[in-house]
Each structure stands twice: as C-alpha cells, then as structure tokens.
Subunit: 210 residues, 2 copies
C-alpha cells in the first residue's frame, strides 16, 4: 500500500466511522446557511417531524447533497443547530468558588433571556421523547459541557476546603443550576437583578437556623 492509498483509506474510514465528513467543511459559509435555515424553520413553528432535509436545503439555497456531506441525518443537524444558540461558556477566574459559580449562573440567566433561544429550546424539549438521538446529541454537545463547568467548580471547592468535604456534588449542581432553571422556566429571570448572586449565596450558606 502506498502512502497515498493509506491516506485515502484513513479518510474513508473517518467518514464511515463518524458519519460526518473528514477534514474541514468545504465551505464554512454553506454550513452557516444550513444551520440558520434549520433554526429559522423551527422558529417559524415547524416541528422536527415536519422538517425535511429538502426544506432546509431549499431555504439555505444549497443542494441536498451539500447537507448530507456534513450531517447524515436530520436529528444530528437539529441538535448541532440548537447547540449554536448557546453562548460560549464564560471563563472562570479560579480564585473564589463563590465568584466562579456566580459567573456561570449569570451566563445561564443571560442566555435564557434571549427570546429566540427560549422559543427554539421549547421546541427541542417538546420532542425529547420522540427524538432520543436529537436529545442525546444536544445533551452531549450543549448541556454536558455547561453541567461539567459548574460541577468542576463545586468539586474544586471541596478539594480546597472552601466547601464542606461531605457534600453531595450532584445535589449541589442540581440546587444551583436547578434554581436558575426554575426562574428561567417559570419566572422572569431576566428582570431579576443579582439573581445569580442571591442563589449562590443562599445555597452556600443554607437556610436552616444554626
């Protein structure tokens, strides 16, 4: 086997293995147009069931093969499109656990305040049971890294002694992020000043009398 054959072989395997094209997309512009078209159609009220690669291609002004070259199926495309709505994770300073938790929760609050994001997330969540592949991919690319960021800060606090050594890290994550979810889902979190700080301080100190 020549070097050239080996290279081709490897590239071919990567395509088959990941279900995605090897290497960089031929055109970042086309990828952006496809993602925007997908989000626009969902925002206009098209459910995942009705959404077709054909409709997306037509809206994006590309051929269907251009889409299939990047995504082997609709669910992965929707998941990746939704993931682009997430703001980048804010950097944490790593000095104070309290400060870093406020940074991460404030970013969560800020993101939820965006109308378009909220609308599209509602659509995605509604189809959770019907589209496990979509949800699985979305959780992996969009939810897990954010969950991990909060968990890492809590774990660091346990390690440094800023937090009690015997806490349940999972329950801490749920109380912190769940409290913000509670506000963004049911209340008007975007109107609530200093919400991240109030949540973090109260979860840190507890509510029981000493």
């Amino acid at each position: 086997m020549t070097t050239q054959e080996m290279t081709h072989g490897t590239a071919g395997q990567a395509v088959a293995g990941a279900g995605r094209p090897a290497g960089r997309p031929r055109s970042e512009k086309a990828e952006k147009a496809i993602i925007e078209a997908t989000l626009d159609l969902i925002a206009e009220g098209m459910g995942v069931a009705e959404l077709s690669i054909e409709a997306i291609a037509s809206r994006a002004g590309v051929g269907k093969t251009t889409i299939y070259r990047r995504w082997s199926n609709k669910e992965d495309l929707v998941a990746d499109s939704l993931a682009t709505l997430k703001a980048p994770l804010p950097p944490v300073r790593g000095v104070s656990v309290r400060e870093d938790l406020i940074t991460l929760l404030a970013a969560m609050q800020n993101e939820a305040g965006q109308d378009r994001t909220r609308c599209l997330m509602n659509v995605a969540m509604s189809d959770a049971d019907r589209y496990p592949r979509l949800m699985g991919r979305f959780v992996k690319v969009a939810v897990e890294p954010r969950r991990k960021a909060v968990r890492d800060v809590v774990q660091r606090g346990v390690d440094t002694g800023e937090l009690r050594p015997d806490i349940d890290v999972d329950v801490a994550l749920a109380s912190l992020s769940g409290a913000m979810l509670w506000y963004t889902k049911w209340g008007n979190a975007e109107l609530t000043d200093g919400l991240a700080e109030r949540i973090v301080d109260q979860v840190l100190s507890g509510i029981a009398s000493r």
Copy 2:
C-alpha cells in the same frame, strides 16, 4: 324582583362572568370522557395546533355542544386536562419543616416518574409561547398550588425560627423545587432513592465550610 328571579339572575351572571356553565356539570361521565379523549390525542402526538373540538368530540363520543357547554375554548380544555394528571397535593403534618419539605419534593419526584405525565407535560411546555392562555390557566390551576405549598412551609419555618429569619423565600423555593426539576428533567430521578431527603438536607445546611 322575586327571590326566584334573583336566584336566576345570579346564576346567569355566573355563567357570563366565568365563561363556564353554572352549577354542576350535567354529566360527570361526559366530562371525564372529554378529558380522556383530549389527553389521548395529545399522547398520540397531536399538537395543540392540530387538536380540534371536533376531533375531541368524536373521540369522546359526545357532541361538540357538550364540550362547549363546559369549555368555551380549546386552550382551557387542554389546560384543565393536563391539570388532572397532577397527583393530589400530599397533606403535610405541620410539625417539622424538614419533614414537610421532603413530603412535597418526594411527591414531585413520584409524579415526574410517570411516563404518560412526562410525555404530555413535554407537549404542553413546548407550546408555551404559542399558547399563552393555555399556559396561564395551567400555571394557575396546576402549578401555583404546588408552588404555594412549598413556599408556605418555608415561610412557616421562617416564622417559627426553624429557618433563618433573613433568607430569600423565593430563592429557597427555587433551590428546592428547581433541584428536583433538574433531576426529573435531565436525569433519572425515579431511580434515585432518597433524593428528596438529600436535596432538602443540603439546602437546609448549605454547602460552604463553616
């Protein structure tokens, strides 16, 4: 005006004011059939947009006027149907704040474990932005009483001194119920033993080192 006229007049006003029939429904059985038909159609994947009074009447085996006699519009009917999925609020003993919070959170966990409830709630939540009347009514009849039950226990704790006097009751509610929501939404809450107890104990004691 005779007493009889006055009585009729009052009944008539009640109908006009509430948009619902006065007095008891003529047939509890018909009402039950209408609600079951509504839930079945949603469970089969019919979105609120597609759902029609006609389809519900046909499935329930009643005439459309039988439905309109009870609900003036589709959104109220869907909200009331979804509300029937909620288990009755468990009674709290009123002795210990910790014990009562565990009772309420355990009921929340138990409810979320029901597949049908979860599926139907997903559908309802997905349409939140498109159907504000539906959501408004659902929040009023199903969500608010549960929120109030937790809030009342927390407030009682503040009043009796079991909880710190300076806590933010809203944030406490969000940390407790939000933590359970976090598990029921993203995790496998039904598989997690003693979850309500773990959440309540950690929110009570806080996670910071003393």
